[in-house]
Assembly symmetry: C2
Homo-oligomer: 176 residues x 2
């Protein structure tokens, strides 16, 4: 068993951030580690995200908060999204008290931060509450510098070329 | 079912390239797609790579070529490594003739290229032989410009911060 879990961040404007976090979760699960995958702004009822099906099959526990982002759903009340993100953060805080978790992925948490649905101070104090052995993986573009400073590993995924610019839409089995 | 599969490349010096490819494979498998994961320079007998266990559980087929890289095994005969990489390429060429595959990941193929174990022309002609519906995912740092030109999606994973620089070694469930 590992001595110390780290804080990993996948940020940047390119494709591969959540995808790498899925890879991390799957790798850890392959060693029998207990993994939770907490996503913000992902709605499996809209996209049939294949990754959640696969991860559940591997015993990874999925938690979803604030499934819809106001950028795509203009009718949403930002106040409500804010509350849902806070509920998500409270929930993660609870998870940190359960020392049986080996890895928690906080997927798109950076987006919740960037868009003002969560406060930087709250997330920083969450990171401070990380149990020693737990590996925390944060994803999403626009990570604040204070989180970079706290993290042990930060990868920036840069878009060099993206098929959207060729007019190719989001595809089943690839983007979701 | 998708109309056209693309060529994706994950390159750069940061952590998250093979990890993103694992995520891609897992996502596709979650939709019942037929996925093959072909790795170069990965030896599960040395590291008990958790990802291979998980991917096999999801019905993803794993193929391994040139498991050891001369950089880490000085006693290896580069000629032999070269032959093994060519065998790998021949094998992938055969796989392309089997139209039932939805996705093939060519993990660390870029390294085989970068280190001169494979010829650029051969890989380019492999990409040209991609069946229409197949999604091809290449990983590894140092991808040549001609492959970038051929690809539809290229993400460069940049190292912003890496725990190795803090003296933290490769960890089970995280790096393998």
């Amino acid at each position: 068993m590992r001595e110390r879990g780290l804080i990993q961040v996948y940020t940047g404007n390119g494709k591969g951030k959540s995808t790498a976090a899925i890879g991390q979760a799957v790798r850890a699960a392959g060693h029998g580690h207990k993994v939770g995958f907490i996503s913000f702004f992902k709605d499996p009822d809209v996209f049939g995200y294949g990754e959640y099906r696969s991860m559940e099959q591997l015993g990874i526990t999925i938690f979803l908060f604030a499934r819809k982002h106001p950028h795509f759903y203009r009718e949403l009340d930002p106040e409500e999204v804010c509350e849902e993100c806070c509920r998500g953060l409270d929930f993660i805080r609870e998870l940190l008290l359960d020392l049986s978790w080996d890895m928690l992925v906080l997927d798109e948490l950076n987006i919740a931060l960037r868009d003002g649905f969560l406060k930087e101070d709250e997330v920083i104090s969450l990171l401070d509450a990380k149990p020693q052995k737990l590996e925390l993986v944060l994803t999403g573009r626009g990570v604040p510098q204070r989180i970079v400073d706290k993290a042990d590993l930060v990868s920036e995924v840069m878009e060099i070329k993206h098929p959207y610019s060729q007019g190719i839409q989001s595809r089943e089995g690839i983007e979701y």
